[in-house]
């Protein structure tokens, strides 16, 4: 088995991670200000994930609200050995949004905006780049199948069987896509350690 390592969260620096842990400890001691500060730090991230899953902006807003309320109520259960605060919050947000879908909220269609033809390379625009364009460029290390399987699993909450149906491929292939995709993510995450 590989040695246990303390992997830092790539998207945040060490100071931010320490700050999050401090806020979590304060919340566990019933410091309400700490929750507000954590919301200011991670609110946009949580909202982005909720919007990725939920079609309706109001559903997404409520999912953000429910996420942070859940974080507050379970602050005493946070265990750093199981992941940094950000990862914990991301998974809470994901689960809250998926629960909303299962209760009837409209699910945002994955890959709804992917255009098969390349976008014309005009001068860069001042404004937001489509999320699917960023996915296509950043995740080039994953095959299309691996990326799609991971997205369906994470954002869609799909089981292997559901992914197999969505991708019109045998379950065995789905498991391979997921396993290899995770191996690729693991390799990249540990490449410079």
């Amino acid at each position: 088995m590989a040695e246990a390592r303390d992997h830092s969260f790539p998207a945040f620096d060490a100071a931010a991670l320490a700050r999050h842990r401090d806020l979590m400890a304060r919340m566990a001691a019933s410091d309400g200000d700490a929750l507000h500060l954590l919301y200011l730090e991670l609110g946009t991230l949580v909202h982005g994930i909720a919007r990725r899953i939920l079609e309706d902006p109001e559903d997404a807003r409520e999912a953000v609200q429910d996420t942070f309320i859940k974080v507050w109520r379970n602050a005493g259960n946070f265990d750093r050995e199981r992941g940094e605060v950000v990862a914990w919050v991301v998974f809470i947000a994901r689960n809250v949004a998926i629960d909303r879908v299962r209760q009837g909220a409209r699910r945002r269609t994955l890959y709804e905006s992917i255009r098969p033809e390349p976008i014309e390379p005009v001068a860069p625009l001042l404004g937001r780049i489509e999320a699917e364009e960023e996915v296509a460029r950043r995740l080039g290390v994953l095959s299309a199948n691996q990326r799609q399987a991971l997205e369906l699993a994470f954002f869609g909450g799909c089981t292997h069987a559901q992914i197999a149906t969505a991708m019109q491929t045998p379950i065995g292939n789905v498991k391979n896509h997921l396993r290899r995709g995770l191996q690729r993510l693991r390799k990249l995450a540990t490449r410079h350690e």
Binding site: D13, W72, I98, A123, P124, R128, L178
Partner: protein, 361 residues
């Protein structure tokens, strides 16, 4: 690392375990540090993946306000941290205050009257001797013999003194308890006032920021050689380009904006605008080299009150150009420096370590 552990962790994280299997795995997590390490690794890998796909997105102002109101309502029921082992919940404050006030009134009501004369009432309206109000001192009553009724007055006074002593002690204990409760109330009140003041200051600073209209700060970013040489295009030329084609600045063959020349030729170039009201930054990059598939163009900012750089956004690049935007927390200031580097796609982003593409101002 065994495949079965990896699979178990993955299924656990994505909620794909049956209750029985989940319970067994949670026991494994409690007792097996390797399992916990694997859980931490996969959780952070998948969270990074999710963050890269689902770009951070701000709520609309109204939505943000409603979320903050809901969080405030949720935390208003919080119990303050205990002091010396005594905890007073916010919900018990008002009833406790009412009890104290009633207790004080009751105590005042029950306080014996000052003695007028000695002996028990003998039908003439004279009162028996009673205690003085200073019960804390445990003073015993001294009945004063009435005129012409000394012996009866002394007997009655002794009985009254015994009862009065017991009452005095009881009242003394009650008073001490009430004083202690009052001290607790005052301490909690001070804590609440302090928290309220902090919240108000935060709201005020936000209101002050909201009053600032359309404050944008702009910045040019150039390659390291041009940076060292102090070469810049000039933001006026860029502004001219924006005014002629709003939102679009078309780079010329030389890499500069229309109507200007870039002394650095086709070297990487960028310009950045930061909206101080919305706490959002925009950056446009040009003439970038080909980005390897395993790397990413990373934008960093340095704030005036911090030493290091903070990773804020990555930039998708098409044919050497790209743009992105990023949002900083409400309480963050305006970036004083912007740096763009080439970093590993999934490597740690604790500090810029890769090739510097452009920097500014």
């Amino acid at each position: 690392m065994s495949d079965s552990l990896e699979t178990d962790v993955y299924d656990y994280l994505l909620g794909q375990m049956e209750p029985e299997r989940r319970a067994r795995f949670e026991h494994t997590l409690r007792t097996n540090s390797t399992a916990r390490s694997e859980l931490k690794l996969q959780a952070e890998m998948l969270a990074t993946f999710a963050r890269d796909i689902a770009a951070p997105e701000s709520l609309a102002a109204d939505g943000q306000r409603r979320v903050l109101d809901a969080l405030r309502a949720e935390t208003s029921h919080a119990h303050p941290a205990s002091h010396g082992g005594r905890v007073i919940g916010l919900r018990r404050l008002w009833p406790l205050a009412a009890m104290i006030l009633i207790g004080l009134n009751f105590f005042d009501f029950r306080r014996p009257l000052a003695p007028w004369g000695g002996g028990p009432s003998n039908g003439s309206g004279e009162r028996a001797g009673t205690l003085e109000p200073s019960v804390a001192d445990g003073a015993s009553g001294n009945a004063k013999p009435g005129e012409g009724k000394a012996s009866a007055g002394v007997e009655g006074g002794k009985k009254a003194a015994g009862t009065a002593t017991a009452d005095a002690e009881k009242h003394a204990r009650e008073l001490e308890q009430l004083r202690a409760s009052m001290a607790d109330l005052q301490r909690v009140n001070a804590e609440l006032r302090s928290a309220n003041r902090t919240l108000l200051e935060r709201i005020e600073s936000r209101a002050t920021a909201d009053k600032v209209q359309d404050r944008w700060s702009t910045m040019e970013l150039v390659d390291t050689a041009s940076y060292a040489a102090g070469q810049r295009k000039g933001l006026a030329a860029i502004g001219r380009g924006i005014l002629t084609e709003p939102g679009v600045v078309v780079p010329t063959e030389s890499g500069g904006s229309a109507g200007s020349s870039n002394p650095a030729g086709e070297t990487p170039y960028a310009w950045s605008v930061y909206d101080e009201k919305e706490h959002r930054g925009y950056i446009n990059l040009y003439n970038l080299p080909t980005v390897p598939a395993e790397d990413v163009v990373q934008v960093w900012v340095r704030m005036s009150d911090t030493e290091g750089y903070q990773a804020v956004a990555t930039v998708p690049i098409q044919k050497g150009s790209g743009s992105t935007q990023y949002t900083l927390p409400i309480n963050a200031g305006t970036p004083t420096e912007v740096l763009v580097t080439l970093e590993p796609l999934y490597g740690p982003r604790t500090a810029p370590t890769g090739t510097v593409l452009v920097k500014g101002p």
